[in-house]
Assembly symmetry: C2
Homo-oligomer: 150 residues x 2
DNA sequence: CCGTATCCATTCCGATACTG
DNA sequence: CAGTATCGGAATGGATACGG
């Protein structure tokens, strides 16, 4: 499970998992969606060691998920912001959140909700749908034979 | 980032990540959706060491994601199948897959597609929608103040 | 065929010190 | 504040041996 896997496994799930399937990377991405940009912000928010954070940020930048830009406040430091590729990880973070809300938080327990601007209330249960609006369930699919990407 | 985090962080994303945000757990769940049930099947499919697999399976069973059932073939062994809670991780696996298909596989490259039974063709781009059918984007949301789970 | 246990190398991680 | 370097302890992972 290494660089080799990332480029040789024909399974897109394996490739994604190999790239960012670890706790810190996923939480960095979560924070990035919440507007966190600076090294120190990530560090305090996550409670992660600075050396580890340094490595993870570099990996995510190398992977094209984050970009490293000059700080907007004129200081000589860097800001880490989601690229277009990174922003497409929104659904992944949402998936983690939806399952977590359902299965790791009990009734009455305090939790940090995701507020829907459309209503001002916590986002309800979301559904993955095809372009025609029909929902997809596990039984509707199976992994097929290898084929070239269109 | 441990058991304590899992029960104390108010962020559902962090709780989920803490529970199954590692490569092997995610790939075990992927395999489970693909019909893998037996220890040896997982072992060969993933190429993971048996001691690690043993630990991961136990963790997932303890978390209620997999159940450990008597083998259906009458042998004295165990089969690991997704529980209801586990099956609700389908969207998570799908989101990993969708990103991976788009951003880790290049045109013309061989990959393992997910076939949609409705069409017999690879599943296209999916969208997360609210109950009313409207799609949700990152800009439509923000993390709000703590509140009790309804 | 299942699964556990052990050994060893590697990696991960947190704390700390240090430089700009 | 931002980031790198180092050190020691813990966890991970692979290989293998072993018992059910």
């Amino acid at each position: 499970m290494n660089e080799t896997t990332r480029t040789t496994s024909p399974c897109p799930v394996a490739r994604t998992v190999d790239l960012l399937g670890d706790k810190w990377s996923l939480l960095i991405i979560r924070d990035a969606f919440d507007g966190v940009r600076r090294f120190g912000q990530f560090q305090r928010s996550l409670g992660v060691a600075k050396n580890i954070l340094s490595i993870r940020l570099r990996t995510l930048v190398d992977a094209g998920v984050l970009s490293s830009e000059p700080a907007s406040d004129g200081s000589s430091y860097r800001e880490y912001v989601l690229t277009d590729r990174g922003r497409e990880l929104f659904d992944l973070i949402i998936s983690l959140r939806q399952w977590g809300e359902h299965h790791t938080v009990v009734r009455g327990e305090q939790y940090a909700p995701l507020i829907d601007h459309a209503t001002g209330e916590p986002l309800g249960r979301l559904t993955y749908v095809r372009p025609d609006g029909s929902p997809v369930r596990a039984d509707d699919t199976h992994v097929g034979d290898l084929r070239p990407m269109a």
